[in-house]
Symmetry: C2
Subunit: 241 residues, 2 copies
DNA sequence: AATTATTGTCTAAATTATAGACAATAAAAT
DNA sequence: ATTTTATTGTCTATAATTTAGACAATAATT
């Protein structure tokens, strides 16, 4: 296996990705758990090859974890504190995994590479959760969708990174018309409303919400959806082509 | 003189600062011209020391050029294209300045350091133009305030960096209440309006603009300003303490 | 055919934004 | 001293938008 320290990456520059999904009134974040003793969660991240656009690197990292390309992706903040390094994390990792990470498991060069200060560019992604098959990497024990309100304590500043991503998402959702990236191809108006209510954690009035969304003039109305319920069936909508 | 390549900087990471000022209905940007043959303009930039917060580095760079601290400063975008390097610029610089940049003027190591791909974090600053005494560095022939509409052609992607900074400024001005950083301690309502009209490049209705700003409830009204004009004197305002 | 729960949309009321008007006033002109 | 001039500060009327309330339409069950 090739260690990052041997690869042709830009030094001390990392990318951290907050992958948002949505399902049943829950805003979710895709978080892998590392395949080591000790409970280490970390948002998907990686490094930028010398000959690779930074946006392309973020796309590559996301594709590795989600299996899909053509992902809505946006950089949202650069985390650049001098004290921002993984020293504490790596030391704890080594102490809990002595058999795997001493000797030729993690040599001095690699240790130094990993534990240096890193400036990290935060990206957030919006994906249709149904299209994603979460992918483990060699280093992962598992990878799961977590309700953003029930995230585990992650390594380093990763919880703060998610919080900042959510702030940005809320600021961008209205002006940028990006919410639909979190929904499947077709959806009902109620589903759109529930998505908004979940992201902003507050209720919207049904009558006026519907008007507001329809007035955007970006949706086309399809057939009615069969629900089986003893009441009027809702229309399905999709983004206009 | 110490060359950057000898300093303890983070590799391949730079900061570029767009310093905005305002004077007489013109939005201005502080741009140094390099002290070499050939007309090279570049927005103030620099690198981040290993033990320095990125925000602190941006502050340091700004302080060097403006002479003031306590500057309103915000990161706005990361420019991370793989092709983003100064090779073309440096080669042109050398060819136009053979006497200064061959031999021991710029050795191979320095040349390699400078011409590598750099990921640059863009910061924009809002300053009271009256408080700033533009400072040249060793490498500058001059440093001047340019009307943003009459900027010279700068090196690399610096014109695009300024354009992106202006986009961000326009998006932030209303929601963030930061316009007053561009004005002196005290100002008239007309001056605030002219500033807005300059930034957005469109007129505002005087009556309603005044109401909107006063309704923000952040200004306190001081004495009237003596203008000498044959008409009603305007009040001075300042930000509430 | 009546009932039920939800959907889609209409209208009224409240709020906010825009446009028009005018009094107040500092200094110059008469 | 009074009138004139240009600008400022604020008020009100109107227009536009947002919010709240109401109700008909309807798919399946009773």
């Amino acid at each position: 296996m090739h260690h990052p320290s041997e690869q042709n990456y830009i030094q001390q520059l990392s990318i951290d990705c907050v992958i948002f999904g949505y399902h049943e009134k829950q805003l979710k974040v895709l978080v892998p758990k590392l395949d080591f003793n000790g409970d280490f969660w970390a948002v998907p991240g990686g490094f930028v090859y010398q000959s690779e656009d930074m946006d392309a690197a973020a796309n590559r990292i996301l594709q590795e974890r989600t299996g899909i390309s053509e992902i809505y992706l946006e950089q949202f903040y650069v985390f650049g504190k001098a004290a921002r390094n993984s020293l504490e994390f790596i030391d704890k990792l080594i102490s809990l995994n002595p058999e795997r990470l001493t000797g030729n498991g993690l040599n001095r060069k690699e240790y130094d590479w990993f534990t240096r200060r890193f400036v990290s560019v935060g990206y957030y992604a919006l994906v249709d959760i149904n299209k994603v098959t979460p992918q483990k990497t060699d280093l992962d024990e598992s990878i799961h969708w977590y309700n953003i309100k029930e995230l585990p304590a992650m390594i380093m500043d990763h919880n703060a990174i998610v919080a900042k991503a959510l702030d940005t998402l809320r600021l961008s959702l209205d002006e940028k018309l990006i919410a639909f990236n979190l929904l499947p191809e077709t959806f009902t108006m109620k589903e759109v409303q529930e998505l908004y209510e979940t992201v902003f954690d507050k209720p919207f009035a049904r009558n006026n919400f519907q008007k507001k969304i329809l007035d955007l003039n970006v949706l086309e109305r399809l057939d009615k959806k069969f629900t089986g319920a003893a009441n009027k069936a809702p229309f399905l909508y999709r983004i206009k082509k």
